[in-house]
Amino acid sequence: MLRFAVGQIVRFASLMVAVSVLTFALVSASPIDPVQANTGQAAMLSMSAEKRAQLAERWGADEPMWERYTAWASDAVRGDWGESLRFNAPVAEVVADRVAGSALLLVSAWILSGVLGTALGIIAGAMRGRAVDRVIRTYCYLLSATPAFWLAILMLMVFAVQLGWFPIGFSVPIGRSAATVTLAERLHHLVLPALTLSVTGVANIALHTREKAVDVMTSDYARLAAARGEGVWTVMRRHGLRNLLFPAITLQFSSISEIVGGSVLVEQVFSYPGLGQATVTAGLGGDAPLLVGLALATTALVFVGNLAANLLYGVVDPRMRAEVSHVRG
């Protein structure tokens, strides 16, 4: 167990170092001048040379990459991730703020996609070859080819503009202080983005679960159960679910990366102030420190998801646990 933990910590640390070096290198290689990107063309021209130099110094545009990286890294391990140029606040604060803003959206979309995907997969697998199966498969096939941001625009057009059921954007009503916003209002703003985001993950999970369900239903033990007189759903409940759960959990946790990636697009369309939107703002505005912070935060999120999947295997499948402890013991 100890060796497993140490191994994971080493992996995590090496991943973090690699991602930070990579982002730093990419950001340094960029020809985009952060000073110009943020002041705009007109202001740039009317500015005095010393003012420009002052800004360039504040944005650290002239120092070589390694110097900046070592300076950043020595501060970062102590918890100081630098200053976001765009939001004028410490990066750690902005990232924490945005993670909190996105959390509700990410978690609800993630759970929704998992539940919906698994349910559709089981139904399609159990009813293989019937009309229901064909409809579900076509649906998933179409979904997997649909651009997430286009779907978001369509949702917005139908449910927010035409029908007016949901607000057009943001996570809270405009022009109100955070303290006065009720939970109902938050949820009202959450529905459309969460639905759109969940849809992107459903297809993959449903199709894989279906494959597994078909495997289960054509297995010898399922046939024996059917011969004993159990109906399709009884077989599924008694013998299928446990076998299905294992791959479903793997998929569910590995879909975190997809959900986080999709949130960038969905948050942009719905003007939802979260991680994804901050990434776009940082990228467009040349906010290098924030970009590094956000890349690290999303990578950590994905890593934790995969780790959780590894740990859950043992809980779901006792055989696996025995194997693991045998190997490690």
Partner: protein
């Protein structure tokens, strides 16, 4: 009989897809019935038609490019009609021309970046499988790293590094899409490595590069081609996404991402056609590519050969 036939094929498919703990499958075989849309010839015809349509879109896109940027302020904000099937935008530009032209750009960029990405995958897989234990460990670490960062975030970073624009998109997509194909090819080459004739080559002192080029490359070519075609849809979708966010192609080029991000500004004005048609057209193109890939995969699988 039809249903049984289909079921049999599906089971065979699911066996090749599922990786862990596939239980033994017994199926009551029904004689295969010739059915429309299932034979090799039908698969080939479907793929050929799809390729022809995609090719036509690229050519038409090139031809329509002047029409795509031509403004006509007399005809602005028109709903779809006979003169303008997809309507016009606020500058009177014909949306059909813009959509087709944008699709053409997307397809070309998708082809280029998917091709580059698949070559990266092939090289990396060969290095991992034939280059010894250290190389394998290094490659698997690299794959972990690339898969560890969400695609879109990495795409934004790469595009930012290259100063946005078409080159940024191509490099970004090429650098992010290789891991899954590389894994498949690595497994294939590893399997091949265990063959006696390769052990023989190694014992005779044939160099690794030669083994890779003379033995590994030809034998993984089918998997490589299928993987390449199945990369296209992802490449195109990611190109459109990144352009939509403002990191990709410049706003002057007619591209689906640009069109849709412009359409965002007219949502509340009720100009639904600005977003609906271009997006649907993109969806169709992605489906066509997927269809070609799936047909190729079916034809090259052991199942498909029997058909």
């Amino acid at each position: 009989m039809c249903a049984a036939d289909r079921a049999k094929r599906e089971v065979a498919c699911s066996r090749s897809v599922a990786t862990d703990g596939v239980s033994s499958v017994t199926v009551f075989h029904a004689p295969a019935s010739p059915r429309f849309g299932s034979g090799r010839r039908a698969l080939l015809a479907g793929a050929a038609v799809s390729i022809a349509v995609l090719f036509a879109v690229v050519v038409a896109g090139r031809l329509l490019e002047p029409a795509a940027v031509a403004t006509n302020l007399a005809d602005k904000n028109l709903a779809p009609g006979f003169a303008h099937l997809f309507g016009t935008d606020w500058m009177g530009r014909d949306m059909l021309a813009r959509t087709v032209s944008g699709l053409g750009t997307s397809i070309v960029i998708g082809l280029v970046s998917a091709a580059v990405s698949s070559i990266i995958a092939l090289v990396v897989a060969a290095i991992a499988a034939l280059g010894g234990e250290r190389a394998d460990a290094a490659v698997s670490w690299l794959i972990d790293l690339t898969m560890g960062i969400p695609h879109i975030v990495l795409l934004i970073l790469i595009s930012y590094a290259l100063g946005r624009g078409a080159l940024g998109v191509c490099v970004g997509v090429a650098c992010t899409h290789w891991p899954s194909l590389a894994r498949v090819l690595r497994a294939e080459i590893l399997q091949l490595r265990a063959q006696p004739y390769l052990a023989c080559s190694r014992a005779l002192g044939v160099s690794r590069v030669r083994i890779a080029l003379a033995h590994a490359l030809p034998s993984v070519l089918p998997q490589y081609l299928v993987g390449l075609v199945l990369l296209f849809p992802h490449a195109i979708l990611h190109e459109a996404s990144i352009t939509f966010l403002g990191f990709g192609l410049s706003p002057e080029t007619p591209a689906i991402g640009v069109i849709l991000s412009e359409a965002m500004g007219y949502l509340t004005a009720g100009a639904w056609w600005l977003a609906v048609f271009p997006g649907a057209a993109l969806l169709v193109v992605v489906l066509l590519f997927d269809r070609v890939g799936a047909a190729l995969r079916d034809l090259m699988s052991t199942e498909g050969v029997q058909r």
